[in-house]
Point group: C2
């Protein structure tokens, strides 16, 4: 199986390392993955025989940039040339997320699918804006469009809602979908410090970003909830259809009061389908031990689906970080072939 | 898609009802399931055009037996004739479990796979005794062998361990795999009654069987653990390789002591893979809230997989009963076609 990568940041680098580490595993299951292209915003490298992973990783570990690497060894290329040559079965899209336009990932995905190339994406933008159309395009061209990485990474929220709930109607979706806010909430609780102190600690540990607004204002949760809603309930909702509240106004008093009641605050994205009437929200909720999310700790995530014929299903866990995210991409690639 | 059923007890009857109820759903996903055969131990009915589900269900609801139904309408048939005509794509095997020989399910499954017919089985016997060989036979004949119902029913233990963990090595499996014992343990705890009183209550509610030994002595848990171990860790272990202890010797004193420590007793099946050294056990374990199984209540079940690259994954829930079991069969049928 020949693959190409477009977008080459942290997850991309972790992915090529994982591909190398999983050589024996992939051999055992009879899947020979051959990486032909790596294309980022400034340069593209191409080896029609397959890029030497060991060599590539050694150079990346020396902090060499892709263009230094390519200059010495491989053919200069770009996205359009790759689509023309069309010698890959699957394209991995790891471009940065743009939640307004979905670009540049959106047009890469469209072109690949139109050219009968499977797509595995880690870029949330195109999925949140155009999942239904892109999936129809994939079906029309008899290829697959896999999005596992966009919605929880290692936690298989999409697989579980589609494959594991096949045949059932999903009546509601609930999720702790953002590890950073879950960490901050637990840190406030365990150490009785203010939101701002907990945020600083999360930033110090590299868990929260310098500009944390996407996480703490609930938008990352909302984006993932939107994807799950559109995919699992066959909708075409928009981000603006979700009532979104974050965690920034939570006070220590609130936490103290919840503690006295043996309860915890969690940031929960929730969609209910009431006879076709879809309601979506992201909110701080106070829950007790009767709710399975009570035990979703630290940077972990969880989702619960309530269905008509397969009952309730809660999944929790899923490691964080670029290696786990890259493992969720490899999972999608393997599932395309099984 | 043409299907046949062999073995027609409670789950079989629930399955034909589900098939009828899910007509719109199946139409929407473009899957036309046509039931041609129902074969039980005494009689077989066959309609080459497809058995009328509405008519069948009405007669079953009137408590009519299959032979009364067939006599009036359909062609008498048997398993061998079905295999000769070979007009089905998928066989649903719902024969009773024999954990010593796997029969009669084992030979039905073998013959179907050899004749290039997909198999979905609810019969645990053939799976626990011969999964690897049967799966190899399926691969050789380019058909699928699906076993989701044998190991937790609605709780997608097999799918999660294979599809959702694809690309990862599973290092350990832990499961609350038996709803009856989980109910009994919780009933002892909540009402401070003895094991025997809790068992009687479970029997009164129809949760435990008149002869409860398979459940309470840990064998049902062991069978499911064996299947998960063989499937997810590519082993060919036997039931006798598992150290099995049940719940019958648990005293109220034990429960009281655990309660004082904020702990609970759970019957847990566990497999660890220590560099290829596989260890399997079924045991009562005392756990606290740091273990996700602490919140697996009543008849619910749960499994936790620890993996190398996709982290820890816990799934819990999954409704009990024949309708949920039949929904897990429908799930496997849909996944064959996707």
């Amino acid at each position: 199986m020949n693959i190409g990568i477009v977008g080459f940041g942290g997850v991309g680098k972790a992915f090529v390392k994982l591909l190398y580490d999983k050589k024996n595993y992939l051999e055992k299951i009879g899947l020979d993955i051959n990486l032909l292209y790596i294309i980022n915003s400034t340069v593209g490298i191409y080896n029609p025989e397959g890029i030497n992973l060991k060599n590539l990783i050694e150079n990346l570990d020396l902090n060499k940039k892709l263009d230094e690497f390519y200059a010495s060894k491989y053919i200069n290329t770009n996205f359009n040339k790759m689509i023309e040559i069309k010698d890959i079965d699957t394209l991995i899209v790891m471009t940065p997320t743009n939640k307004e336009t979905g670009q540049p990932g959106l047009s890469y995905i469209k072109q690949a699918l139109e050219n009968k190339i499977n797509v595995v994406t880690a870029d949330k933008g195109p999925v949140m804006l155009a999942y239904k159309k892109l999936n129809e395009l994939a079906i029309k061209n008899n290829v697959q469009f896999k999005i596992g990485c966009t919605c929880g990474g290692a936690l298989p929220t999409v697989n579980t809602g589609t494959i594991d709930m096949a045949g059932a109607d999903i009546l509601s979706i609930e999720g702790i979908l953002n590890g950073t806010t879950n960490f901050i909430l637990e840190h406030m609780e365990n150490n009785m410090v203010s939101y701002h102190e907990a945020l600083l600690e999360a930033q110090r540990l590299g868990i929260a970003e310098t500009n944390p607004s996407l996480d703490v204002e609930g938008w990352d949760t909302a984006i993932k909830l939107l994807i799950l809603t559109n995919v699992l309930m066959n909708q075409e909702k928009k981000l603006s259809d979700i009532a979104v509240k974050g965690i920034t106004s939570l006070s220590l008093n609130d936490i103290e009061e919840a503690k006295r009641e043996n309860m915890k605050y969690k940031l929960i994205g929730k969609t209910t389908n009431d006879n076709g009437n879809i309601h979506m929200s992201v909110n701080l909720e106070k829950i007790d031990i009767s709710h399975p999310f009570y035990i979703v700790n630290s940077k972990n995530k969880g989702v619960r689906y309530i269905s008509d014929t397969l009952g309730d299903l809660t999944i929790m866990g899923g490691a964080s970080g670029v290696r786990a995210a890259s493992a969720s991409i490899l999972r999608d690639i393997i599932n395309i072939n099984c």
